[in-house]
Assembly symmetry: none
Homo-oligomer: 234 residues x 4
DNA sequence: AATGAATGAGCGTTCATTCAT
DNA sequence: GATGAATGAACGCTCATTCAT
């Protein structure tokens, strides 16, 4: 198991993840005074995303929030409910970031490129989210399954993609038979996997996938990869 | 948190994952008499892949192996060392399955199609492996990092891909500028992600990605997706 | 341990105990507007008598009083002091009920019968008191020991008994050598025990001692039992 | 709340309860080597009977048994199951003591006197049992209710009483219309209550009911009290 | 190699109590 | 006096691990 000291020293380092473009990070709410509830939520995100659900310790969360174990129960009721709230927050953050892409529909190729690179950039900038999603998948999606509004987030996101595709088709630059849902999965997969499996794959391929160069190369690669798929062949 | 009974009743069901093609499953070693060590290892794989490292309980492993906690320490020394052995086994299994693909080099398109579909099929048939890899990535690859032979497994795998690509290029059906390493990552991503995030993405898209139809559609989709990338345009 | 829900649902039912004679119940103070202090005290009696001292929760008391934890400390200082006040109230209530017996001294046999049946009837109607006394005895009477006026309540009660006995002796119906203190203990024992040990004794004897019939039979039985002791043999 | 030190210092004193006759104490199993399970059970009896169910602390039990918290769960599963076992033991002990009374049926008056005095003597010698029974009644008999064999203990006990009564009737010294069940309750009440409410009643009456003299007086008093009831009037 | 008891740290949670408006 | 957030100890229980046959 993890030695305590090891875990301890890791504690502060995760906060500064690799970034590609700051614009893609969720807006920092850098208000000087934060409520205890907020502190706990932020600390919980940190700790859950560092250790997963089972590995996370209530005490660690409360201390990271400079608060008390009991206040976690006061505000959230249980470790699990706290986790769910962290997870929901993460979803909301991704969703908001997607809405903030500021796409120029007049240029569907550039817009699509932005969409393609978004997941990679987002997860590179916010790798904690991957642990949260991982944890949720490890638990067979039991929380999200009970969360009735989950798929309401997907609609607008896929609509955005579809809007771009349709504009491209109208302009005659994109193919006509494009399955937007599948395309969306493929785009997400190519960005997410690169980050989620960075450790095992780096070891496996004997290179550091998280070097800035590698990330940029991969961003360009998957951009071309997906665009090739969509563009009408010259 | 998981109720005990819930966890208990899940215990036996996970063993029969959705299968696409039995040929892709690792060979069952159905010998009637197994050593205690083997029993523990198999039980550990089950339990680790159901609950992750932190969620796994030594007692659950020992009971699933019809053995004793203390024998786990006798044979493996610690929970962590047991996990590492399970992880290594999983890697070896994937490797062996990749070696067993029986590709016909004379038909590089068909061979490549097989390679593309392999990760999806493998992870659909053996989803436990995903939890193991997830867990290892959650722990920042600390075990695989110390495992010097890890990347020795990647060489032959990428060689196989390269062989197929080169044959296709020789036959004039594949493009010339193909980065095999990146292609390999892309192929793995498209298969792995679909399975690893099946719960959150199913909820998100409001469809059951694990239905047999969906899986086959996805297999066909990514096959075309990647082939399109590689084939010389008509 | 008690499930929360179980405890919760019991919460309102206890208020309506088995009654023998309404005249024996403490006078309900059914005023529409009660002070917070009073509310807390009443809620505390309810909760303490349902769960004992250690089982009672401050939060449960404050919620039952539609008030706040902190007001309990504001008004009473501590859980223990609140308990003491509840206990004192209970003693006062018993005392007052004893004073309200309205005995007809001219008929000492009837009067004695009333006295004999009083404890049984009172505890059947107010079984919570038993839990309070039980709790106090469990704590070795530490509160009542410090309560200097406690035995001032016994004097009048035993005086009443003695008055009746003397009148009976004067009329020649009661024996001459009667120890009123011991008689009082015996009377109380025969009524109190029947209620205090109703659960264990019901199971032990495999009958429901709290059925109305059983209670009436017991009332008659102990009445005769004690009277036999006191009456001059025919 | 109880100060720790107060509770602590009480810890060892309870072990030496007031005794009337040693012959009535449960046989001490003074074997030099006791199993951990036995140690825990004995310690649990001590602690439960000192503090009640809610007041008892697992840690206190484990320490009193010179063992570990976890072993309590290893052997008994939960605090509640441990309590049930303690309670069952207490019942069994009483039962065995009742069987050991060695009554001389030829002398029914002496035999009945022994029976009458038994509860008082037993509870004086083993006052812990009262706390256990109190606690069980506080919890509305939830454990004993589920204990199907509980009332099997009452049969033989009442049979003994009935045997003595019948012999007395045959000899013409006892009245004919005697309800043995009610008589048994009365006998128990007169002994039990004196001990169970010793603290509150001592304060109330301003005498120490537990002085040896008082106890002997009470034993004689209730003996006469009940015998008077049963004997044919001279 | 098998069996089960022992060891001790630590975890999620709850509690009585106090503080600050 | 009302409201609710803060404080910190402790509780029941579980865990990985080791010991002794």
């Amino acid at each position: 198991m993890l030695k305590k000291d090891q875990a301890e020293e890791v504690l502060e380092t995760v906060d500064a993840p690799l970034e590609m473009e700051t614009s893609i990070k969720r807006k920092p709410r850098g208000r000087p005074r934060r409520s205890t509830r907020e502190n706990i939520l932020r600390a919980a995100k940190k700790v859950f995303s560092r250790s997963g659900y089972d590995g996370a310790r209530i005490e660690k969360i409360s201390k990271a929030a400079r608060s008390y174990d009991s206040l976690i129960y006061y505000y959230f009721g249980s470790k699990e409910k706290l986790f769910v709230e962290v997870l929901e927050d993460a979803y909301r953050d991704i969703y908001e970031a997607e809405q903030d892409l500021n796409l120029n529909l007049q240029d569907p190729v550039a817009a699509l490129r932005k969409i393609i690179e978004f997941p990679l950039r987002y997860y590179v900038a916010n790798p904690e989210v991957i642990v949260l999603l991982s944890t949720e998948n490890l638990q067979k999606g039991k929380h999200i399954a009970k969360w009735p509004t989950a798929h309401q987030y997907s609609r607008p996101v896929i609509d955005i993609l579809q809007g771009v595709i349709q504009e491209g088709q109208a302009q005659g630059v994109f193919k006509n038979d494009i399955d937007c849902k599948k395309l969306y999965i493929a785009i997400t997969a190519l960005g997410y996997f690169y980050v989620s499996n960075r450790y095992t794959f780096s070891a496996f391929l004997d290179t550091d996938l998280m070097q800035e160069d590698s990330i940029h190369e991969w961003a360009a690669y998957i951009s071309d990869f997906v665009l090739n798929q969509v563009l009408v062949s010259a």
